[in-house]
């Protein structure tokens, strides 16, 4: 399954691992903040609705 990367196996594999990890961290952080802000906004809007 793994292609023959010859003497550059470490370089090529590490480039892919580093990049994929960075992209996944970016996506995870973006989704986490999106969920938190959405939840907090809903709570705040409910609170503002009750107080109105």
């Amino acid at each position: 399954m793994m292609p023959d990367l010859g003497k550059y196996g470490t370089e090529v594999t590490s480039a892919y691992v580093v990049s994929v990890v960075l992209l996944l961290v970016l996506v995870w952080l973006s989704l986490r903040r999106a969920r938190r802000v959405r939840r907090d906004l809903e709570q705040q809007e409910n609170k503002a609705g009750r107080n109105a």
Binding site: Y8, E11, V12, A15, S19, L26, R38
Partner: protein, 244 residues
Amino acid sequence: MIMSIWEYANPRQFMATSGRVLPWLVGLTLINLLVGLVWGFFFTPDDYRQGATVKIIYLHVPSALMAINAWMMMLVASLIWLIRRHHVSALAARAAAPIGLTMTLIALLTGAIWGKPMWGTYWAWDPRLTSFLILFLFYLGYIALWEAIEVPDVAADLTSVLCLVGSVFALLSRYAVNFWNQGLHQGASLSLDKKENVADVFYFPLLVSIAGFVLLFLTLLLLRTRTEIRARRLQALRARELSA
């Protein structure tokens, strides 16, 4: 009917349209990224000079391209904010910065990993590499400035000016090889002029990978801009509650 772009300056309109587009963008992004990277990593041959390190091109070129283009998008959004005072554009610029920062970091790291076996060094003070490092620092400064200023409109003003200044380095990152005919970095791997392009066997998976990175940028941009719009509304509601 095609809407005017200015209608998206209305946060409500932006949220409605982006909410409809986002699921499709997620699907397209996943397909393009998976196909591009799997094709590039598993099903392309080695280069006769670079060996298997040529496979790094499918990460390095798209990330470098998006590092520069993300800043250019921020520049346009910042200009719209400065000239027309549309809040969504300022928030979109803010939302794009962490994506651009990550793309710049990926370009720098994959370039360094490739450079060691090919150039014999991880780093050289080459015009393109140096301008990319400065662009990375500008991204950090831009994000830090947004976080440091509490009044949103003042933060948007100052970060927009910083973005204008930083765009010099974004342009230099793109054209440094042409401006200064020195340094280790080679010229463009892709061009509208077919003669300058890499061989087709590398070219087509590279195009798919680039499409994947562009779509990933758009997807995250919409997602993060929606979050920024909600965060701004949350901030306003809390301020209203405190003042009541």
